[in-house]
Amino acid sequence: MLDRKIGIVDLSRNSVKIVDMPKDIRAKYLGGRGINTYLLYKLLRKGVDPLSPNNVLILGAGLLTGTLVPNSSRFNVSTKSPETGFLGDSNCGGFFAPEMRYAGFDHIILKGKAKKPRYVYVEDGDIEIRDARDYWGMNTNDAQVSFRKNLGDVEVACCGTAGENLVRFANLRTGVKNSAGRCGTGAVMGSKNVKAVVAYGTMGLKIKHPQKLLDVVKEVEDYILGSKLTPILGSVGTPLLYEVSNELGAIRTKNSQLNQWSDSLNAENIEKEVEKMIGCSSCIVHCRHRNKLGGEGPEYTSVGLLGANVGIDDVKQVIELQNIANDLGLDVSSAGTIIAWAFELFELGIINEKMTGEKLEFGNFEQARSLLHDIAGREGFGDILAESTQAAKKFGKKSEDYLIAVKNLPQSDPHDVRYIKAFALGIATASRGADHLRSRPTLEIFLRLPKEVKERIYGKGVSPDPTSYDGKEKTVYFSDNIFAVVDCLGICKFICHGFNSPHFLDYPRFEALLEAATGMKYGRRKMEAVGKRVIDTERMFNIRQGLTRKDDTLPKRYFDDPMPMGPTKGHHIDRNEFDAMLSRYYKLRGWDEKGMLAPSRVEEIKSVGGLP
């Protein structure tokens, strides 16, 4: 279990080095996102061009990934983001990460750049750099099917043509749907002339206390399966969130000009297109839809961002758009945000046909579909959109006022955060930019959650009113920390306390699972300290790349334009209240007014020993 290695693949030199995991790094960061972040901080210098050979791409499995521990399928992909210029980090499920571990590796670092297309093959303790000419030019489904045809029962993490063409929001894909979707991980892989990392492993993960793990897992499993919520997640999946946000008046619509959209995208209509619900490795929730249109999904994110946000209300069209984006290897969140942004800019006359080549309009399915292809191929106007938020350089300064992004990252999810203030702070401070999976205190959507329940989870002084700013820094702080911990362990957030339910797995259960599997003893404080350390290390990485307090902010529209429709009508984010909340959040983290870490803390983190 603790014997898995770090593989360092130098593509420029065509060489591979395999090293043990330094004990101190393991103890301080556990695995997955934590260790990735630390390695990234140590390996990269200030100002590295993300698409140059000097950037690195790190694939890192969680410490419990690939075990009996429920929903332990996950890994993180970390790099300096070509989309944002800050931390690039994306968490992904499926079957790849367990396979990488069975093949002997917890972390694989890609550095340099190959002269010709290559793929990295990993099997039972060995790593080879192989010729990828037969796979270059393929999209992610064809590439994976071809690898499996030629190499057997392998698992693949690959980029599509979007990654090869250095689209700044190209992703890494594994399986039919799973993606390390955010921050342009696929573009970095493409920039290294690498098509894929392919794994096959027969080396099991030795468990420290087998009977104890069997017992703890059984208890945890019964607990999760006993929740009212689990069967709903397992039959409807995330699309159920669409109606919840939409009825409230908080669904990003037409680039957030509107906040409510059609009932036709409700989960009950999506269910008609579902053939079967399936799971990732070790998953007991099974929220993945195998759809009747040849793919998997859609997730709520696709429903919102390739539906409402681009003005499309037909379920089948939405599913088709997300199937195409997945195959091309494009992040659906960035794609749906950037296309909608361009549509509005065209409506406003900020960009025109001279640049776009045609009239752009919301709700035009054919146009959205061909834009996805043009982005991936960097053809015509698609070449400009492929620059993601950096297209603002072409569109002009004024265009930035309509961009729904933070730290240059388009907002990940379809929820308009002007109403629930904690959500706003979450996307403003998340280390990789506007994203709900880093720190969103999602329980705030339960508008009637009593004060005592909130205070028990988050601490004293948290207002029960979702529209109040009072104490909301505590909700983000708690979520930030515990989500970082689950990302280190390789467990899905779906069963994590405070994400879907106030009754899912909390620190004590993570401690019990960790101890049974590895023998590592972590009390609540020590476990939480890992989460805090990860957040601080990510902050250090970002500060070195030039991040300041002014980057912890929100899209202009969320401050200045009140929500126009529905129960949330009139709500917006007050700049002064937001600023005060941000200061309180910094204080809680031990950061100063400028959002900087104390020098002693920086030294402490820098001194974690044993760089491979």
Binding site: V244, L248, I445, L447, R448
Partner: protein, 95 residues
């Protein structure tokens, strides 16, 4: 008892299936939103199953919107008036 407070009760998401309707017209003797919702849950057992927690309270996962205004727990004590529209929405968190 007089049933002269007429209320439109809208049932959304998973709650629709519980009574097979997305809207009910309810006659109510009057009182708070909380008592209205509890009465509806008792009258339609399948709805009750979906909205009541084990202790008989209204589950925190049920969002309640009164005339287009989302309610916090303390606002559940507000009085329902004739012609009001109350929406029940089974929420789910996550992403």
């Amino acid at each position: 008892m007089e049933r002269d407070v007429k209320v439109r009760l809208r049932l959304l998401s998973s709650l629709r299936q519980t009574v097979g309707e997305s809207e009910l017209a309810i006659g109510f003797a009057g009182g708070s939103v909380e008592s209205l919702v509890k009465e509806a849950g008792n009258k339609y057992p399948k709805l009750g199953e979906a909205i009541f927690a084990k202790d008989g309270s209204i589950d925190y996962a049920i969002n309640v919107i009164l005339n287009g205004r989302p309610l916090t727990e303390s606002a559940m004590k507000e009085t329902v008036r004739d012609g009001d529209e109350v929406t029940l929405l089974a929420a789910a968190a996550g992403g």
